[in-house]
């Protein structure tokens, strides 16, 4: 099985060592070894257990804070209370028998395995396992007791919706996986776990639906992940930046979400998700441009409402990208295309404004960005103050001071609001960045410049690829059958055919046949 060899290879690579010393027979020696390797850290807890006849003793080792205390206690009372064995086996209890007894008890807790080398021992400890060492044995039981402090599943903060499930991912990988598992109750939901980061040894999970996700794509994705050689992965953003194909493009080619329903939906479209331990943001690839303008709620609302809201979002995209640029171009280059009454109005507003239109735009735009950034970073009580002051600065005061014209306030605030209408924050940021570029060009060359930059942008977007899938698909290359879910959202009963550009594998075993039957691309 290619999958397993891959995994073990990666694990080896992460360890960075070919050979690891075996566990000593002497329990004290082992414990000393562990303590010295962890730098005598006070959070390393060692508890000794001795049988009544003093013949055997064992030790439970774990790191405080990484474990679920209740489970450890529970296990230890069951498995290591040698006294309960007294009646049954007075003297026959050899170390080996004790070992297998304790091992049997471990099953009631959950995952347990036997480790025989020191590196695995340490690794297990650090990932929250409890190690049981026996005097005289060169192996230890590793019981999965990881737990500790964690955040409860709460409502999503970055992708809020009105209708739809309110749960969102947390920092715990297993919780996150279970949230998706709960939604896709199908054996074809395959999860592969590997470790990335030489120092942090962060667990990441590749999740896909076997049979829907394209195998070549998956292979490519695994390859990209295996090529990551960094010390630390503290957030999925690290991986996102490391595996991006187009590193110099302003557009994000990997989608991220903290909503389990969004992940489930994308998995069902044949995409691949990457869960990273320690962050609620799950990466989804391949990502196409239009994904960033769709929300899960589009599918929960009626199609007509969703379609209109989607159109609105694309309109907002245009406004937030070109709004100030078109204003500058019209005012500085193409005064003849403004209706006369409006032109007179604008001219009267600009009477007394000392700056050129571009400077005016920049003043307000930069102010807006400052307020936005400050508002995010400030603690929320102060954040409100920031927004009030910002409102004053951006609003009437700047106009009355004669620094900017009232129309400019409208243009900039409309642009600002429009940029918030993009559901994906990273895409909104890219657009905001490009807006400045386009404004500059339009101040230099007018509408002509806007057209040039627009064309370059379109060409660039069409040249992008995300994991081999054209970024603008299915608009460019055009696939007529896939237009039902791009600018508009067709009623659900029209959307039975899977998107072809993601190349879902044609045959799928088992339970997903219900959807498959309607797919004409099958045959």
């Amino acid at each position: 099985m290619p999958k397993q060899t891959k995994e073990s290879k990666t694990a080896e690579m992460a360890n960075g060592k070919e050979q690891s010393p075996p566990i000593f027979e002497n329990i004290e020696e082992n414990l000393n070894q562990i303590q010295s390797k962890l730098g005598n850290s006070p959070d390393l807890i060692i508890r000794y257990y001795e049988s009544l006849d003093h013949a055997n003793y064992a030790a439970a080792v774990y790191i405080n804070g990484l474990i679920d205390m209740e489970r450890v206690e529970d296990y230890i009372t069951h498995a290591l209370s040698f006294d309960s064995l007294q009646e049954k086996a007075e003297s026959a209890a050899t170390a080996l028998e004790r070992f297998s007894f304790a091992k049997g008890k471990a099953l009631s807790i959950g995952k347990e395995k036997i480790v025989e080398d020191q590196n695995s021992l340490l690794e297990g400890l650090l990932s929250g396992d409890t190690m049981i060492l026996f005097q005289g044995l060169t192996k230890a039981i590793s019981v999965s007791t990881s737990g500790g402090e964690g955040r409860a599943v709460t409502e999503a903060t970055t992708q809020v919706n009105i209708r739809g499930p309110k749960d969102s991912f947390t920092e715990s990988l297993s919780t996150n996986l279970s949230l998706v598992r709960k939604r896709i109750k199908n054996p074809n939901l395959w999860i592969e776990t590997l470790t990335i980061g030489a120092v942090t040894k962060t667990d990441v999970s590749i999740v896909h639906i076997h049979g829907l996700a394209n195998e070549a794509m998956l292979q490519e994705f695994r390859k990209k992940l295996s090529e990551i050689h960094v010390d630390s992965i503290l957030e999925s953003g690290y991986i996102e930046q490391l595996i991006e194909e187009n590193k110099y493009s302003p557009f994000p080619t990997i989608f991220n979400t903290e909503r389990p329903d969004s992940v489930a939906g994308n998995l069902l479209e044949g995409r691949i998700a990457l869960f990273v331990d320690g962050t609620p943001f799950v990466l989804i690839t391949p990502a196409t441009f239009f994904m960033f303008f769709h929300t899960v709620e589009d599918y929960y609302q009626r199609y007509d409402v969703s379609s209109l809201i989607r159109l609105l979002r694309f309109m907002c995209l245009i406004v937030s990208l070109f709004g100030p640029a078109i204003f500058v171009a019209a005012l500085n280059f193409h005064q003849e295309m403004i209706p006369t009454p409006l032109l007179i109005n604008l001219a009267s507003q600009r009477e007394g404004v000392p700056f050129p239109v571009v400077i005016e735009v920049l003043l307000l735009e930069v102010t807006f960005e400052i307020i936005r950034e400050a508002g995010i970073r400030m603690p929320s009580p102060i954040g409100q103050t920031v927004s009030i002051i910002g409102g004053l600065v951006l609003g009437q005061a700047a106009v009355q001071a004669g620094i900017v014209s009232p129309a400019m306030v409208i243009v900039v605030s409309l642009t600002g609001i429009s940029s918030f209408a993009t559901p994906a924050f990273n895409m909104a940021l890219s657009i905001r960045l490009l807006r400045f570029v386009i404004t500059f060009v339009s101040a230099y060359m007018g509408l002509y410049g806007i057209a040039i930059v627009g064309l370059i942008l379109i060409a660039h977007l069409c040249s992008l690829r995300s994991l081999g899938v054209p970024y603008m698909s299915p608009v460019a290359p055009f696939a007529a059958g896939d237009q039902k879910d791009i600018f508009l959202r067709a009623p659900l009963h029209f959307m039975k055919i899977r998107r072809r550009l993601l190349n879902p594998k044609s045959s799928v075993p088992g339970t997903t046949t219900q959807i498959r039957k309607d797919n004409p691309h099958e045959n």
Partner: protein
């Protein structure tokens, strides 16, 4: 790959600099927006007196600042042998560069109109700023600059006001239509002659320049649309007024909506019919060297007012009214044609029509079309329909109660 990309980028930038069509960036507050141009003849020398009506933005639009007491426009006059020369010379009098893309109105003084206007439209076709849909008016009995100096009530910008006045009266009254530079150039270059709307000052023109003129319910001066000026060979030769000018609109198939008062059986001109649809078909033919104008007018109207107590529920009453309406229309059309024939000015495009439909016949008469046109006969057919009588059918005083 990288070098190729850089090369492409350099190409884009190079091309973009070379191809810039409208490259010059001009700030809005460096422009003097010209809303109207007036042209007058100089009495003693060659050339024109050109008047520019410039919008004063700070007092013509609602601003958050203090309201200005200055008038909404300023007027600058300059003399030169060419219009462009005059507008460049005007820079000596204005603080900002004149900007013409929003010029909506061209007024020609009557003396200049009488001496010929053929050549003054060149700058409108040549300049990229001036627009060909600029409305043209002839200042009847006065010079153009006095008209441009008049302030208007309701509309803050006099030029816009005059354009709106033209459009408004054309739409509901029908004696005038909006005549633009493009249409006039067409008229000059094709066979036949053309007409231009007249605008006449009423009241005291001197007082009308002051803002105080507007500070009363009835301004001390104003202007009104007054008939159509008939141009022959580019020169104003006469004026068509009232029914004559409406007849002209009818013949040109330009009538949108109008009101015709027709006679009822007992009283004269006391039933008002609102014509809301009118279509004129024209065919021109030569019969023994004389042109025959086959005109077919189909008009539809509704009765909006009836001072006589006519019972519209009776079919024969309506029939009488239809006949009356057709006759009324026919008489106006005949008046228009007669007036034009007297001046030998084919303002109805009949010459073009003949040239288009019978090119070989046209060749025989094109030399002396003016006099041939004057002898043309009219074959007029008017189909009038009354489509509605308003919300009431019978008069509110029944016949038996009247004396």
């Amino acid at each position: 790959m990288r070098t190729k990309l850089l090369g492409l980028l350099a190409l884009y930038l190079g091309v973009s600099v070379l191809l810039t069509g409208c490259w010059n960036s001009r700030e809005l507050n460096d422009l003097a927006i010209v809303s109207g141009i007036g042209m007058d003849k100089l009495d003693d020398e060659e050339g024109y007196r050109v008047t520019f009506q410039i919008i004063n933005p700070s007092s013509s639009a609602p601003t958050t600042g203090a309201a200005s007491n200055r008038p909404p426009v300023m007027v600058v006059t300059e003399k030169d042998t060419t219009v462009f020369g005059a507008l460049r010379k005007a820079s000596r009098r204005t603080t900002r560069q004149l900007f013409f893309a929003h010029t909506q109105l061209l007024i020609i003084g009557e003396p200049l109109a009488r001496s010929g206007v053929d050549h003054i439209f060149d700058i409108f076709e040549r300049s990229h700023e001036l627009r060909l849909n600029t409305t043209v008016l002839i200042a009847k009995n006065s010079d153009a600059s006095s008209v441009l100096k008049l302030l208007t009530a309701l509309e803050s910008l006099p030029s816009t006001g005059l354009v709106k006045k033209t459009q408004n009266t054309a739409r509901v009254w029908g004696e005038n239509r909006k005549i633009g530079v493009f249409e006039i150039i067409n008229g000059i270059t094709s066979e036949g002659d053309f007409t231009i709307n007249g605008i006449q000052i009423i009241g005291n023109a001197e007082e009308g320049m002051k803002k105080s003129s507007l500070e009363q319910t009835e301004p001390l001066a104003g202007s009104y649309m007054s008939g159509l000026g008939v141009f022959k060979k580019g020169k104003l030769i006469s004026w068509l007024n009232g029914p004559e000018s409406r007849g002209t609109q009818w013949l040109l198939n330009k009538l949108e909506e109008t009101n015709v008062n027709i006679d009822a059986s007992d009283r004269k001109e006391d039933i008002s019919v609102n014509i809301f649809y009118s279509k004129t078909a024209v065919k021109v033919d030569l019969r023994e060297g004389k042109p025959v104008f086959h005109i077919h007018i189909r008009e539809e109207g509704s009765i909006n007012e009836a001072d006589s107590f006519v019972d519209f529920s009776k079919e024969e009453e309506l029939g009488k009214l239809k006949k009356e309406l057709a006759e009324q229309t026919a008489s106006e059309v005949k008046m228009a044609l007669k007036a034009a024939q007297e001046k030998k000015a084919d303002i109805f495009n009949f010459g073009n029509e003949l040239k288009r439909t019978h090119p070989e016949l046209w060749k025989t008469v094109n030399k002396e079309w003016d006099s041939v046109f004057a002898e043309g006969e009219l074959d007029l057919q008017v189909d009038a329909y009354i489509r509605g009588t308003g919300m009431r059918l019978k008069p509110y005083i029944p016949a038996e109660k009247r004396e």
